[in-house]
């Protein structure tokens, strides 16, 4: 256990040293946030029927999405692991008395945490200072806030487990770009990054609720915005935990199978 923690720590602290990257990232996210808000404001202005999510709630979701981007986008990748698999450096990782799945998992979650923690606060602070309805406000009650934190953390755990499946798939495809594209496109769409989940047509919404992707971003952010009540939130936490168990089992099994057939050529 200590080895995984140690790796987690190294990677976390290491991530913190990239300050300029964090600042640039925060600025980009801020810019994107404004674009999305303008698009949705135009959309809300052109309709008089009430929507399943109010503009202000949606804006809150958008700001949270932009702040915690590193927690749930699948295009964020670790080139080192991809190189390990495609170029054969995995040989060294296999000479260690460690479980490779847990080892990579610790590394990936540390990277996302350090990226996320460095970036979220500047965006949130500015979003709080904006005038209504463009601003971010505190949740209605403390319970919603606690539920938001819990679902956000569980969501991160789910997301890293999904990204592990992506890395494992590279053992078979031998192509980081291909696996990455499929996973990040699916993730982006089904987690409501392109169309917010409440605005989706009924059938699509059903599909989205079956898949794990929305439980990483859509769920915690809508809990925060008050669009999802505390009772639904509690049920969703159970679904999150179920997904974690399922994804871990698939990942560990897939890794075991991949390692059995591994070939390390050259050198």
């Amino acid at each position: 256990m200590i080895a995984y923690y140690s790796l987690f720590k190294i990677r976390l602290l290491h991530g913190f040293q990239y300050r300029t990257a964090a600042l640039a990232g925060a600025l980009t996210q801020f810019f994107w946030g404004f674009i999305y808000i303008m698009v949705y404001q135009a959309f809300y202005n052109s309709t008089s029927t009430p929507q399943p999510i109010t503009l202000h709630e949606l804006i809150e979701v958008l700001w949270l999405q932009q702040s915690f981007l590193a927690f749930f986008v699948l295009w964020l990748r670790d080139n080192e692991i991809i190189d390990h698999i495609t170029k054969g450096n995995i040989a060294y990782e296999l000479c260690r008395p460690i479980n490779l799945y847990s080892f990579w998992y610790a590394k990936l979650i540390a990277q996302r945490l350090s990226k996320g923690l460095l970036r979220f606060s500047p965006i949130l602070i500015i979003a709080f200072l904006l005038p209504y309805p463009y601003n971010l406000t505190l949740p209605d009650n403390l319970i919603s806030f606690i539920l938001f934190i819990i679902t956000l953390i569980l969501g991160l755990i789910i997301l890293v487990a999904i990204s592990m499946l992506m890395y494992i798939s590279i053992f078979y495809t031998m192509n980081g770009t291909g696996s990455l594209l499929i996973f990040s496109l699916m993730g982006e769409f089904f987690s409501g990054m392109n169309i917010p989940v409440p605005l989706m047509p009924h059938l699509l919404k059903t599909i989205v609720y079956i898949l794990p992707f929305r439980y990483c971003s859509d769920l915690p952010f809508r809990i925060y915005a008050g669009n999802i009540g505390n009772k639904e939130a509690l049920i969703s936490i159970i679904i999150q935990i179920t997904w974690i168990i399922i994804l871990f089992s698939i990942g560990k099994l897939g890794m075991k199978k991949a390692l059995k057939n591994i070939i390390v050529q050259g050198g």
Binding site: I2, A3, Y5, S6, L7, I10, H14, G88, N89, I90, A91, Y92, L94, C95, R96, P97, I98, N99, K260, N261, I262, I263, V264, Q265, G266, G267
Partner: protein, 325 residues
């Protein structure tokens, strides 16, 4: 300590001829050939030995090392090392071994070396005291004290390799696998690495299995060599014996004060002769070197004399030729 018997492994390799048409053809119907990387290997290694595992490129050296270090699963055959079967009991087994792949890196490239060492300490659960002792020994013998605080990406190849070797020995492994550890190193680093391997072998009784193309490595380190070609063991024996077997030829060079004497000794072939210098090739299976020198000293007024063996490179080349690999 290491028992390998009947080990075999083959790889499937995609094959197609160059050109557009054959590219299309292989798109529809890909063709594969099977390459037998290693074929029925059997050998035993005792504790404390340094084995030079040699063979031309593509002979199967690295594949063997990778199977023995638990990375690859062989098609068939058995391998018992320290009581473990490497690929079945990988996590428990690899605690006892250290591995260096000369062409790959095990250190994190963007953090200081010491961070990687500390991580290894946690991975192998090395007790504080043992870690410090080992670190002291490694730092002094490998001369890496100034390098520990530098990120790996800023080290030169030789510095990096010394740190890599250090990293593979922090946990007191009983067996050390070195896959081309001196590749690309300068003379000074090479000697430092060799000296170090000798030291740990002597002081800690570490068994070393070394693959290399550098015959000086073999000559400096290996007490026994295993020659492999096309996946099969061709020769397994100690270096001195091999040298004698293929090295009955010695070259004597003498300088003398002017003379026109002509020599005629059985078993001795003239390579070149000038007024003051003579080079002879001596077949030691016919005449002993000492006898030959005796005869020469009677005929000439000797000023200088040297006896050279055929360099080990040549022996290996003639070995490769003999086995047609």
């Amino acid at each position: 300590m290491i028992e390998v018997s009947g080990l075999s492994k083959s790889f499937k390799v995609a094959k197609r001829n160059p050109g557009i048409i054959s590219a299309l053809k292989s798109f529809v119907h890909p063709q594969f050939t099977t390459i037998q990387a290693i074929d029925d290997l059997t050998f035993n290694i005792k504790q404390g030995e340094i084995i030079g595992y040699i063979g031309p490129n593509g002979a199967g050296k690295s594949t063997t090392i990778k199977i023995m270090s638990g990375i690859l699963v062989p098609d068939k055959g058995n391998c018992k090392i320290l009581g473990y079967t490497p690929w079945k009991d990988r996590v428990n087994y690899v605690k006892n071994i250290g591995v260096v792949f000369g062409q790959r890196s095990q250190l994190f490239w963007d953090v200081p070396v010491m961070d990687s060492y500390n991580l290894l300490k946690d991975i192998y659960k090395i007790p504080e005291k043992m870690f410090e002792e080992n670190l002291d020994l490694l730092v002094s013998t490998l001369d890496i004290s100034q390098l520990l605080d530098t990120p790996v990406r800023q080290l030169s190849l030789g510095q990096k390799m010394r740190c890599e070797i250090g990293a593979s020995l922090l946990h007191n492994p009983k067996i050390l696998f070195l896959d081309e550890p001196t590749i690309g190193l300068d003379a000074v680093s090479k000697i430092a690495v060799r000296q170090f391997i000798k030291t740990i072998n002597k002081e800690k009784q570490v068994t070393v299995i070394l693959t290399t193309h550098d015959m000086q490595d073999i000559e400096a380190l290996a007490s026994r060599i295993i020659l492999i070609g096309k996946g099969k063991i061709l020769l397994d024996g100690n270096l001195a014996k091999l040298k004698n077997q293929f090295n009955s030829q010695k070259v004597i060079t003498i300088d003398y004060s002017e003379s026109n004497e002509v020599i005629n000794i059985p078993g001795v072939k003239l390579i070149s002769q000038s007024k003051e210098r003579l080079m002879l090739s001596v077949d030691t299976s016919i005449i002993k070197i000492s006898d030959c020198i005796n005869l020469l000293s009677k005929k000439y007024d000797l000023l200088d004399l040297s006896v050279d063996s055929r360099p080990i490179e040549e022996i290996i080349v003639s070995l490769y030729r003999e086995y047609q690999i």
